[in-house]
Subunit: 203 residues, 4 copies
DNA sequence: GTCTAACCGAGACGGTACGTCCTGTCTTAGT
DNA sequence: ACTAAGACAGGACGTACCGTCTCGGTTAGAC
């Protein structure tokens, strides 16, 4: 989704940018990330691999980060799951995440982006990218609340954080992400805790 | 703490390395990380700032990552808290983490290290560094179990993950880490969930 | 003179080239040569300055050198002087040369063209351009011979070389070209030498 | 001659520049000028040919012109001839010039340098280089005057210009430089003219 | 009055070189 | 054996022009 490099565009002056090349560059970017990792990513190598000149890359994306974000956004987006059951919805989100991790080295790219967020001009763009991903969690949780499946006074943001951060961190920090069994356990503990009374039950 | 750059040392022949310079380099490294961030960190700038030649840096630490790890390890380590109460212990760990975040750009450095972990030869070293930090959590949780304060069949690793990942992720991903109140809520929900029956209580 | 860019033209089909634009490009070329010199001359800058697209320039002149030659040829040409006196004729040629030097940076352009002559495909064209300039000398000298004002067995080419090269070289090599007085002296010495017997008078 | 790239140097701090490499670069420069000409001269190609990194070239010579000048100055200098006869001395200078022309594409390089003289910061350096070459003429002429072989009231500079410019211009402008016979004729005409009375003999 | 070929601007494009920067290694002289 | 200074090969950076190419849109002569 969202491959469009620049915003909108004037009503087409001069030779139009080749979509074919844009796609080739994004594909090459993903491939390079796979081969050399984020820190080993070179515009030069991307251009070479895409069979494109450096300028053609720079024309579209001003720098490495913008390029990486565009490449990630070129991956197919998951439709927000709606199985009617919160845990099943969450499991679907987990499955999709692990999919993307496999396909795009997200386990390396994600922390790299988070690191960049503090410095670069792309802070907002990175924030938006991450946000968009967690948006699915927000919707799934709100739907569960609407169904009465989840009853809690906590802000959705906190609930999402509790449900998603163990998996996210395990992806970035552990040698392997949480297994299905581990993950199920974690989610159930959190949901049980919420059911018990929003953490306000203790003295 | 732990300034010792290399493993041990031969029985010392010739002029010994100046400890003063080692310290200057590590300080300069932290300062540079503060100014330019991890990705903008160059050995050259560090050497210049420390008033030291590049070779003097390379002799001690083989590359950027090793240098960064050494710099982080030069920060004062927290003694594992032991207040007799799990939540108080955890709160102390939180306080210390936020301290380090303030003092060393950890919010940027940590994800950068995690990203590097997948590729570089320093994977193990980085893993060890992160492990060492979470070790405090492990000890605190195990003590709580021994005291009977925490009763659960879950492996300590999972418990620690649930208790620490929301804060860790909020540090890396949010504009500001969890407030004390938010954090307290999260911890209590998790502990309630564990008390309720390890996530196995549901059908 | 000679603004006609290409040879002749097919019997004209389609929209004709705008003469207005051709002139604008040549003017812009002279201006750019004045501002940045021959070596700093870029087609892009010329096109920009002329308010014309690059293609419009390339359509008319295949490359930099052709463009420069065309620009020089667009300058007004001197009618070959014919005062009835050789020295006066030569003085008129000198005046005209210094004029062009002032108006077109010839002091820089001329050596640049000579340098290019050895390599580029435009060798012949450059040769022709320079030849055309010296043609005036040839005519003036031959007229003097016809009048009996100049009696010598030397080939006209050599006579012209002796009469013109000191001024030409002074234009290219000295900070200022020969003054009128210096120039007069030089010319008279050469003419005296010729009158003395063509350099064959010595043992 | 004078291969020394920079002025003098502090009392040697750090690793000294490799003379071997300096020489290799200058040789490569001359070779490249021979192959591709002045306008086709590329620092990158020179570095490649010399088996040296680009920075090594830039460290010594700030730009193309400085490099070319250094390369030319690395060629063996002629000892000023002193045969006791002016024409023989001049003939020796001619021989040497044609030698250098053959060995270093001077026919192309010289006009290129003259063109550059007007613009670049190297104006003075180029002027100095050319001056140094013509210095031999000055000495030869002054010696002839001292011997009484040449009697004239003209400033030496003008005499030198008359004696040298036909050959110089023929090198730059003609397809072949003046033959020995042509050259001899030219020189004798000039000397005869000077003997006749410094160009002041005419009304 | 349409055709329609050549013009024109804008700007994309592959390519080459630019001059700079940093890396990690090396070579000096000096401590 | 350490140190500071700095040379060095290598490799990527981001930029500038080159000369070519596609676009959409004129413009004038031929039909």
């Amino acid at each position: 989704m969202a491959t469009a490099p620049t915003v909108a565009a004037a009503p087409s002056r001069g030779r139009p940018r080749s979509e074919h090349r844009s796609a080739a560059v994004l594909a090459a970017t993903l491939a390079e990330i796979g081969d050399r990792g984020i820190s080993g990513l070179t515009i030069e190598a991307v251009a070479l691999r895409a069979g494109v000149s450096k300028v053609t890359v720079y024309r579209r994306w001003p720098d490495r980060i913008a390029l990486v974000l565009a490449a990630l956004e070129s991956l197919p987006e998951l439709a927000v799951p709606d199985t009617g059951d919160l845990v099943d919805d969450l499991r679907e989100l987990r499955r999709h995440l692990l999919d993307v991790v496999d396909r795009s080295n997200l386990a390396e790219v994600l922390p790299a982006l988070l690191a960049e967020r503090r410095r670069s001009d792309h802070g907002p763009a990175i924030r938006r990218y991450v946000e968009r991903r967690s948006q699915a969690y927000v919707e799934v949780v709100e739907r569960a609340r609407a169904r009465g499946e989840l009853v809690t006074g906590l802000p959705t943001e906190l609930v999402v954080l509790m449900l998603s951060s163990p998996l996210a961190l395990s992806v970035m920090n552990r040698d392997a992400p949480l297994t299905d069994e581990e993950w199920t356990t974690v989610v159930r503990v959190v949901l049980d805790g919420l059911a018990r009374g929003d953490g306000r039950s203790r003295p």
